[in-house]
């Protein structure tokens, strides 16, 4: 199973192709294909994890050369180590839960099949990103997840805000990606290879100058800043909540945004070569985390609170990884690597659960504003219970999974008092804003009665994933109990196993901090000992600042977007007056010249007018023929055969699978044709 790991991304890809070309018109079948394929991928991932455990985490690499050239060697390959195995499992589990949940959530959407095909494409890209063995391939999949994220954020593109959010997400992350590709090019130029292991060997053996390592490290980290929504590129993630909520759970909470963290973990061997780059990472992480946590304290939109919480938690992980890099570069021991990746895993589960729970609530009350909710726990028992479990987990309450991973991160900061203080402050805020959300939404009296009356528990396809994820939110952390001799820390580690002794003082401190956060929220929002409004009034400047998210969006608008638009206006003016003026002048000359040759002109115009008539008539006829389906089929044959030939020349076994798959698809298509769906499909096409 381990040798065939490269097949895992292909299952969802197959689903994507099948839905796109063949089953688009059979909505139910499309969703089943998509879910079935991701479940197969999940099973395969579990086998890979088991195989990895049984070989004690010994990495495996397999690659075929893609382009061999004197100055550059590019390959397509996979690199499987414990980190990869864990990531594969996270992605497939969350994707499976989200897709099953989506059956209920997206029910009745006009683009239901397309939604599932996008989810499959995303899952394919994310899995490909995880198993890549070089930066070149990583970057390809990195951009693919960016594309699918764009497609899914703007899935309801009739809504202007959704379309804008998609654009914003795409452009903002592209800024980070520009840095990323510069980093990759620096590596290609100085190391001469993009393969992870070869690059890391060169870093370890000192072939690369320290300055180059720092430069490459910081540029590569830019990619993570964009994708993981770190300061100063964090602005897209809250807006990305315009997409369907399951998408937020899958892409913008559990997997894609974690890709940045994964990238830092994957390239850790590079970062330990440079204390400067690592410190920069840690600082960016802690700034992001603190800033997002403070913003989350005062927001009212349920999904935005969770979005800022995600940004904050990602910053937390980045901080841990950065501290690990800095400590290791200076020769100290640090549990940061394990802490960061461990928290990545636990966070994926409880954050996906929080989002899906939020989706369930939104599904029931049709509003995002927590001020309009209240008392929902009576009507939505499963949703409320699972949401509370996830909130306890993220707050870090013993013995839920979040406790163990958060505790490790706090332990990482042990040698850095400033970081430690900030980490505990963030933990306090996290507990506070999560329980503010819980109490406002689920307890007390309903504040908008009609919405409350309308609310109901969601269907089974939505509550089952919630319960499953709640189970993981409780238990997933137990693989990393500090007392285990073969726990998470001896499975996923960097360079050598480092066992940290459980520090009971830190555990106690973080528990006290979390409990006091919950307690404060309880006092204000449940018991209502203090009025939240009065508090907001008392700290009005601060509240306004936080409520407006530090005015960062406005700042970008004034400093970057408006000047750009001004410049564009200027260019337009230049174009319209100077260039067009010249063109018009030349045109005027030509008209004069043409006047002289009127006889000739008359003749040409005459012909052109007749020609236009013919062209219009022919065009009208042509459009009718555009409806003919067979032409697409011709081109499909051309491209299909070309792909087949390539696969045949590269791998003979792959060709057999390809032939098998292609014939099954042609079979499905012919069945759909015979069942009369083709006629319906042309109508759907016209609507699209």
């Amino acid at each position: 199973m381990l040798e065939n790991t490269y097949l895992i991304p292909f299952y969802p890809l197959l689903a994507f192709v099948a839905i796109l070309f063949f089953t688009r018109w059979k909505e139910r079948l499309s969703s089943y294909i998509s879910i079935g394929m991701v479940l197969i991928a999940l099973v395969h991932s579990l086998f890979v994890l088991a195989a990895m455990l049984s070989r004690h985490g010994l990495p495996m690499e397999k690659a075929i050369p893609f382009i061999t050239h004197p100055s550059l060697h590019l390959e397509l390959g996979m690199y499987i180590d414990p980190l990869t195995a864990v990531m594969l499992m996270i992605v497939t589990i969350v994707s499976s839960c989200v897709q099953i949940y989506s059956i209920g959530y997206m029910h009745g959407d006009p683009r239901y099949s397309r939604y599932f095909s996008y989810l499959s494409l995303f899952t394919f890209s994310m899995l490909g990103l995880v198993i890549a063995n070089n930066f070149f391939m990583l970057f390809i999949f990195w951009e693919l997840v960016g594309l699918t994220s764009y497609l899914l954020i703007g899935f309801w593109f009739e809504k202007k805000s959704a379309a804008d959010a998609g654009k914003k997400a795409f452009i903002t992350t592209r800024i980070g990606d520009l840095g990323f590709i510069i980093g990759i090019l620096i590596l290609a130029a100085y190391a001469g290879t993009l393969n992870y292991q070869q690059v890391f060997e060169k870093v370890a053996s000192g072939v690369l100058a320290p300055g180059i390592i720092t430069l490459a490290g910081i540029f590569i980290f830019c990619g993570a800043v964009g994708k993981s929504a770190q300061f100063p590129l964090h602005v897209w993630l809250p807006d990305a909540m315009e997409g369907p909520t399951p998408v937020s759970a899958l892409i913008h909470a559990a997997t894609m945004v974690a890709a940045g963290v994964y990238l830092v973990a994957r390239a850790m061997s590079l970062f330990v070569g440079s204390a400067e780059a690592s410190t920069a990472i840690a600082v960016i992480g802690v700034i992001t985390s603190l800033m997002a946590a403070t913003i989350a304290l005062v927001q009212n939109d349920i999904k935005r609170i969770l979005a800022y919480s995600t940004v904050s938690q990602l910053g937390y992980m980045i901080m841990a990884l950065g501290l690990y890099g800095a400590d290791t570069a200076l020769g100290h021991h640090s549990p940061g690597f394990v802490a960061g990746t461990f928290h990545l895993m636990t966070h994926a589960f409880f954050k996906a659960l929080l989002f899906l729970g939020a989706g369930s609530v939104i599904h029931a009350v049709h509003t995002n504003d927590i001020q309009d909710m209240g008392g929902l726990s009576k009507k939505m028992k499963i949703t409320a219970t699972t949401f509370f479990i996830a909130s306890l987990s993220i707050a870090g309450i013993f013995p839920l999974s979040g406790f163990w991973s958060k505790d490790e991160i706090v332990a990482t900061t042990a040698g850095h008092p400033v970081f430690m203080f900030l980490a505990l402050t963030i933990a306090f805020m996290t507990a506070f804003y999560m329980f503010r959300l819980c109490f406002l939404a689920f307890t007390g009296k309903p504040r908008v009665q009609e919405k409350y009356d309308h609310a109901h528990e969601s269907p089974n396809t939505m509550t089952w994933p919630l319960m499953f994820l709640a189970f993981l939110s409780i238990g997933a952390g137990w693989v990393g109990l500090p007392w285990l001799s073969h726990g998470f820390s001896s499975f996923v580690y960097h360079e050598q196993i480092h066992h940290s002794e459980p520090s009971y003082i830190l555990m106690l401190a973080s528990t006290v901090v979390a409990l006091s956060g919950i307690g404060l929220a309880y006092m204000i929002y449940y018991k209502q000992r203090f009025s939240a409004d009065a508090l907001a009034e008392k700290f009005k400047p601060l509240h306004t600042l936080l409520y407006n998210k530090y005015y960062i969006d406005e700042f970008y608008n004034i400093v970057i977007i408006q000047p750009l638009l001004k410049f564009t206006d200027f260019l337009w003016w230049f174009d319209a007056h100077i260039i067009d003026g010249l063109v018009n002048f030349v045109g005027w000359l030509i008209i004069k010249w043409a006047d002289i040759k009127q006889w000739f002109d008359q003749y040409i115009v005459d012909g052109a007018v007749n020609g236009m008539g013919y062209a219009c008539m022919a065009g009208a006829r042509l459009f009718r023929y555009l409806q003919n389906g067979s032409l697409q089929f011709y081109t499909l044959i051309v491209i299909g055969s070309a792909v087949g030939l390539i696969i045949y020349r590269v791998t003979s076994r792959g060709f057999i699978y390809y032939l098998l798959g292609a014939s099954i698809m042609v079979l499905i298509r012919s069945i759909i044709r015979t069942s009369g769906m083709e006629k319906a499909s042309t109508e759907t096409n016209v609507q699209d």
Partner: protein
């Protein structure tokens, strides 16, 4: 670039100017005599042919444009097919092409100029531009019957599939350029060998490039599985254009293919570099072409669709010679294309005349033709027998040479398959002959082709018989062309 070598461009430039002259002439002078423009076009082609005899040999623009024996050989085929296509068009011109007759002839000439440039191209960009110049006028010509739904549909299909394939081809060419840093075929050959000898391997990027180029050129050749457009387009297009497509345009594909693969990528058909061999891909496609083309042709009722599938099968035979990639293979391919020019153009000319006189393309209506129009039926019989490969006609020698080259190169299985499918093809060719000679029906009126059409048919028949019995002259010339490749 030496000034004296510019003379090798004279035939192309002259043909191009003739096309422009025809456009201008049609525009400026009222059409008193509908045939006048056609005669001008024929004269332009004939003079270009004569100029070709005087001005050839040498290279231009650092070898981008090379007027070698191979290009001259194929230029003769292109001019011949354009000549016969225009000659056949006289039959339909009076009835169906009332307006824009000048453009019709001019576009054929322009397409021929494109083919001539293509056949001289020793560099990817020139080759691609030549290919586009060949194809773009054909898009217009295929859709020339603007009132005929079939023709317009054919034009659209040809355009879309053509543009699609062109994009794929360009992708392949750019991959090749990206890997080698050169657009010159010689440079590509050298750089690839250097990379291979240095590293012992070249990534599957090369396979990607090869397959994409095969797919792109496969469209021009109508090679299975890139042939899907061909039957629809062949049926819908004006019949002389169909003939031109099936001979001129295919020969253009053949020379582009041989320039890129048999010249540029030749190293990858040797045993040392077996894993990157393109021969096996082409052999598989050729066998698919022979099987699908011949079998599908069996059930066709429309003569143009039948000839379409027949020409798909014929290109499969040509590719047998191509995969041999030897002196004998190249010579066989050249000879095959030369005979194919006469046989296929002849058959399409007859289909044109028949359609013009009876308004039908159905094979059933050919019944009893030998009684009413014996000359006509006899010509058709010769063409069909040559296509089927019956001695002593040219088609037999062509098939024999191609098969011998295939066996010499070790593709025995491919040749056995080709022989078997050739037997199948005899059925549908002979079926028409049976219709014409042994059917009890008698058509109402005899078909009387014009003098020019008779002349063209006679030349074609004479060529097939003469070069079938005495293949020496053409074969020597074709063998000469193989020296270009320096095997």
């Amino acid at each position: 670039m030496t000034g004296s070598n510019l003379r090798i461009l004279i035939p192309e430039v002259f043909l191009f100017l003739s096309a422009l002259f025809i456009f201008a002439y049609d525009l400026g002078i009222k059409r008193k005599n509908p045939r006048q423009i056609g005669y001008i076009a024929l004269a332009g082609i004939a003079i270009t042919g004569i100029l070709l005899i005087f001005f050839h040999g040498g290279i231009l623009y650092h070898g981008m444009f090379s007027s070698d024996s191979l290009s001259v050989f194929f230029k003769i085929i292109f001019l011949g097919s354009a000549f016969m296509a225009i000659g056949a068009s006289f039959e339909i011109a009076s009835e169906k092409i009332r307006n824009h007759r000048g453009e019709y002839y001019g576009l054929i000439l322009l397409s021929t100029v494109g083919m001539m440039f293509l056949s001289s191209a020793n560099e990817l960009l020139t080759l691609y531009v030549g290919l586009e110049l060949t194809t773009i006028p054909l898009y217009v010509l295929v859709a020339y019957y603007k009132d005929d739904k079939l023709s317009v549909e054919a034009g659209l299909k040809y355009l879309i599939v053509g543009a699609f394939s062109s994009a794929i081809l360009l992708y392949g060419l750019s991959l090749l350029y990206g890997m080698t840093g050169s657009t010159y075929l010689v440079g590509i050959k050298i750089n690839l060998s250097v990379i291979f000898l240095t590293y012992g391997k070249i990534g599957p990027g090369l396979i990607l490039a090869m397959v994409m180029i095969i797919a792109g050129i496969g469209f021009k050749l109508a090679l299975v599985p890139f042939h899907m457009w061909a039957p629809d387009v062949y049926q819908g297009a004006p019949t002389p254009i169909t003939g031109f497509l099936s001979v001129g345009s295919k020969a253009a594909g053949v020379i582009a293919f041989s320039r890129i693969f048999v010249n540029g990528l030749i190293a990858f058909s040797t045993d040392v570099m077996k894993p990157l061999d393109w021969g096996i891909i082409v052999a598989i496609l050729a066998s698919a072409a022979m099987i699908i083309g011949n079998i599908t042709a069996l059930r066709q009722r429309n003569i143009k669709r039948m000839l379409a599938y027949s020409s798909i099968a014929q290109i499969g035979y040509v590719m047998v010679g191509m995969v041999a990639a030897s002196t004998m293979g190249v010579a066989a391919v050249g000879y095959y294309m030369f005979i194919y020019l006469f046989a296929n153009m002849g058959a399409f000319t007859i289909a044109t005349i028949f359609n013009d006189k009876t308004g039908s393309d159905d094979i059933v209506n050919y019944a009893g033709l030998s009684k009413s129009s014996p000359f006509f039926a006899a010509c058709m019989t010769i063409f069909l027998l040559s296509l089927a490969g019956i001695p002593p006609l040219g088609g037999f020698v062509a098939k024999y040479l191609v098969f011998a080259a295939g066996i010499q190169a070790g593709y025995t299985w491919l040749v056995i398959l080709a022989l078997l499918t050739a037997v199948v093809s005899l059925y549908y060719y002979a079926n028409i002959i049976k219709m014409m000679y042994f059917s009890p029906e008698t058509p109402a009126q005899p078909i009387k082709p014009s003098l020019l059409a008779r002349l063209i048919l006679l030349i074609a028949v004479a060529g097939i018989i003469f070069w079938g019995v005495f293949p020496g002259t053409i074969l020597n010339f074709a063998t000469e062309t193989a020296k270009v490749f320096a095997f």
